[in-house]
């Protein structure tokens, strides 16, 4: 996922951090330019292409009739899969999802699931027999850092783009999407927190924390990554940053 960088480059970025500066001139609490384009993929019920700086992620949503899980017979099913396509980075290799792809999918999944963004109970068809499954496939096209935020945004924007799904035998008036969880990731470099790290920053960061919040500012998911540590104060600051930046990104949804 991360790449080996020269110690010169590392020192440069860490030095900048010490001065509260970033390698691409952004403020510590500033996201890269973001764009969200929905509806590109007609073969999906919902889709969104997110560009976060040079990072590009395409998410597609497919709805299918499936058997429910035995432990939740009347509810629909949510499945999130992420592919770190070898086309997106020289460090990605073909093959089944590795731990990075799996973590990415599961973090996006939890943001949507735990926020109750989809009213999953409405997705039953025949209780115990047939329900709607929501397949969210995250296709990473260009990896320039912070795949989590780009993927989470692509997934939720794709879900909000569905409206009345174009799928045979759809059983509801509208697709039951009700919340807008937004994930914000912060990298820690030399004790500083930097919002939306680009790849150069990810390659030298100590650790990252992703905080997913919903409209009222409450938290629905957190994920720490990387081999460094956070203090309790770091996390409180991270929460404040996440809440503020999520409000900006949320405007791009729906």
């Amino acid at each position: 996922m991360y790449e080996i960088v020269s110690s010169v480059k590392r020192d440069y970025i860490v030095d900048l951090a010490r001065q509260g500066k970033r390698v691409d001139g952004r403020a510590l609490d500033q996201c890269r330019d973001v764009s969200v384009e929905t509806g590109l993929i007609k073969s999906a019920q919902g889709s969104a292409l997110v560009k976060l700086g040079s990072t590009q992620v395409l998410a597609g949503v497919k709805l299918e009739r499936v058997e429910p899980f035995p432990d939740t017979p009347p509810s629909g099913v949510l499945m999130v899969n992420a592919e770190l396509l070898p086309l997106a980075s020289p460090t990605f290799e073909p093959g089944p999802p590795d731990e990075n792809a799996i973590e990415l999918a599961r973090v996006v999944d939890r943001g949507i699931r735990e926020s109750g963004a989809i009213d999953i109970d409405k997705l039953g068809i025949t209780p115990g027999e047939e329900v709607w499954a929501v397949f969210i496939d995250i296709h990473v096209l260009d990896h320039d850092g912070n795949l989590i935020d780009a993927s989470a945004l692509a997934a939720i924007a794709a879900l909000w783009s569905i409206k009345t799904p174009k799928v045979e035998g759809w059983t509801l008036p509208e697709f039951p999407i009700v919340k807008k969880p937004v994930a914000i990731t912060m990298a820690k470099i030399d004790e500083k927190l930097m919002v939306d790290p680009c790849l150069s920053e990810e390659n030298v960061m100590d650790a990252r924390a992703t905080v997913t919040t919903v409209e009222d500012g409450s938290i629905c998911a957190i994920q720490k990554g990387g081999v460094g540590c956070f203090t309790r104060e770091d996390l409180e600051a991270a929460y404040e940053l996440a809440r503020a930046r999520a409000e900006d990104l949320r405007k791009h949804i729906g």
Partner: protein, 241 residues
Amino acid sequence: MEKPEKLIVDGKRLDGRAPDELRPLKIQAGVLKRADGSAYVELGKNKVLAAVYGPREMHPRHHQQPDTAVLRCRYNMAPFSVEERKRPGPDRRSVEISKVAREALEPVVFLELYPRSAIDIFIEILQADAGTRTTGITAASVALADAGVPMRDLVSAVAVGKVDDTIVLDLTKEEDQWGTTDMPIALMPRKKLITLLQMDGHFTHEEFKRALALAFNGCEQIYEAQKRALREKYSVKPEEE
């Protein structure tokens, strides 16, 4: 959609095209930051992305060839690119297409210039509507050029086929499904050398010859669009003149 009674009415196809007409074609070179070369192609409803990495170090090392680079190719369909969600990962169809696409592209690359290296081609089908392998080869060839890989020629590819007893260029999904014959072809356009050829369905000898001729015409049009896309990317900006 049910099978219509006729696929060609008054010499026009379901989407209004003449038998020898391509679908709308859009080619864009250099669309990705990380890849060494890339291209995005739309042909009708097909949306295809191709990226090239290399020449780069070959891993695993025991696959290195002492006198040549190795070309590798991976054709992959996004799960959401087709009507019914496709399970991620290679299936038998995509393994075969990856092989024939590689063999279609290899003749144009000067592999011998980069011993022990790998050149990797990745073809991603984002939305599929028949002709994805040929569209993928068309895109990959532009991505190779965009990557600056030394090449003898481009490769231009398109499918021809037989629908309602008419030989047609560039089949849609409906024509592929309900038609009789599908024949994807790739050409090195300058010397008119065929680097990919597959066919299934039914052709008499006469039909086969006409289909070949039609494919050559189609590839010619695609070739022009490929060159245009590369010129657009590399055209000297006015202020730099």
